[in-house]
């Protein structure tokens, strides 16, 4: 286990006041908050920042950490000495619940309630395990057909010495057909293990679709854009159009304009009330880059009584 320098994490001196620590924390929270940050490791950074604030803004934990950390540097291999916390009382406020679950081994070993309770022999204590959350990326086609995904989670456990260690837990999960963007799948009993024989928590998977330039999704409705030639739009045609699960034939009505939206009922994401697939036509003009093409455009200009600006009244 590596020693964590919480002062370095927050970028403050060891002499920083509580107010300076909070100020540094807020600045970093603003930068790395997963909802707004574009940094790839924002979530992990935010957890590290929260953990550092949890310790340094609590006078009891900070005093214990300062005494322990005198001889260590960040990243150095670290084992807490036996009874390192003798003489300190922790009220435990602020990290009951899932927050402590999200913190590092280092934190859990020093302050986590799981290890402490085991060490202090509270054998009669029983508690349901925490619920856990994970994000899963799937393709839009998977929402149409269902998919199986293997998910690897870090699960905290108490070892024989009463220390909290994490182990990897791989789980093969069936993602049900008809899932929507942002929807959750609950896996009962796959969360954190319970304490003292308590039942395990649940695992919630938050489903997101891998970005697909060909489709846009709103709820169960799916939107696509398909290019057509001027003659297909004008005269009508049967064209091949993509859907998330393969191409289908689509009838383009005669007299269509660019931007016309055609609805394929029930071809959106499946469900009790399946969504629709909307195909927007985009008329693409052939380039006038040969004599033949220019001649055809010139013929149209001569023969057709057409001025799109006149129709607008311009």
């Amino acid at each position: 286990m590596e020693f964590k320098d919480y002062y370095q994490t927050l970028g403050v001196d060891k002499t920083a006041t509580v107010e300076e620590i909070k100020k540094a924390y807020r600045k970093l929270a603003r930068k790395y908050h997963p909802d707004v940050s574009k940094e790839a490791d924002a979530e992990a950074r935010m957890q590290a920042i929260n953990e550092a604030k949890e310790v340094l803004s609590d006078p009891e934990k900070r005093a214990a950490y300062d005494q322990l950390g005198e001889d260590y540097r960040a990243g150095q291999d670290f084992r807490p000495p036996p009874d390192w916390d003798a003489g300190f009382e922790f009220t435990g406020r602020g990290f009951e619940g899932a927050e402590a679950d999200e913190f590092s081994d280092f934190f859990a070993n020093l302050f986590g309630q799981g290890g402490r309770r085991e060490r202090h022999g509270r054998g009669d204590y029983q508690r349901r395990g925490e619920d856990r959350h994970a994000k899963v990326l799937i393709d839009l086609a998977d929402a149409y057909q269902g998919a199986t995904r293997t998910i690897t989670l870090q699960v905290p456990q108490v070892d024989a010495q009463g220390r909290v260690v994490t182990r990897e837990h791989s789980l093969s999960v069936k993602i049900p057909k008809g899932v929507k963007e942002g929807q959750h799948v609950r896996l009962t009993g796959q969360g954190s293990p319970g304490l003292g024989g308590g039942p395990p928590g649940d695992l919630f998977l938050e489903i997101h679709f891998r970005p697909d330039p060909a489709f846009r999704v709103e709820g169960r409705d799916v939107f696509a854009s398909v290019p057509v030639t001027p003659w297909e739009a004008a005269l009508g045609a049967s064209i091949e159009t993509p859907t998330p699960v393969g191409p289908v034939r689509l009838k383009v009505p005669a007299g269509s304009q660019s931007g016309r939206r055609l609805r394929l009922k029930g071809r959106g994401i499946p469900g009790k009330e399946p969504g629709d697939l909307y195909v927007e036509l985009t008329v693409v003009l052939p380039p006038a880059d040969t004599d033949k093409a220019r001649e055809l455009y010139a013929t149209m200009a001569r023969e057709l009584d057409f001025d799109p600006r006149r129709r607008r009244g311009g």
């Binding site: 909070k22 807020r26 929270a29 603003r30 908050h33 909802d35 707004v36 935010m46 929260n50 619940g97 899932a98 927050e99 349901r128 925490e130 619920d131 959350h133 199986t148 789980l171 093969s172 999960v173 069936k174 993602i175 049900p176 008809g178 899932v179 929507k180 942002g182 929807q183 959750h184 799948v185 609950r186 896996l187 009962t188 796959q190 928590g201 649940d202 919630f204 998977l205 938050e206 970005p211 330039p213 060909a214 846009r216 999704v217 709103e218 939107f223 854009s225």
Partner: protein, 107 residues
């Protein structure tokens, strides 16, 4: 892989969450949820809600996402619930607009 090794989950919305389940999934007390629903910050706040009614109310997947976001913003920024709800509203709108923007980019 044998089919037995595959864990099947239930889709939230089809099996919506109870008040206690939502609270547990967000690592908060049920009262935390009740206060935010009563204040119109969570779930359908436009309705008249009573505590009695809330115990039988079911919460959706969207409520779970929003409740976790509210809790995280409140905790990370020591924010008032109303401010956290405003942030959540703006994030939801930005997500929707980004989706629209992606759709209008040339393929």
């Amino acid at each position: 892989m044998a089919d037995d090794d595959v864990t099947r989950g239930e889709l939230i919305d089809e099996a919506a969450l109870t008040l206690d389940e939502l609270a547990r999934a967000c690592a908060v007390e049920p009262d935390w949820v009740i206060e935010r629903v009563e204040s119109g910050l969570l779930a359908d706040g436009s309705r008249y809600v009573t505590r009695q009614r809330l115990t039988s109310q079911r919460f959706t997947s969207h409520d779970l996402t929003r409740a976790r976001r509210l809790r995280q913003v409140e905790r990370d920024f020591e924010a008032e619930p109303e401010l956290a709800a405003l942030v959540a509203d703006l994030i939801e709108e930005v997500e929707w607009l980004r989706g629209r923007l992606r759709a209008t980019r040339p393929h």
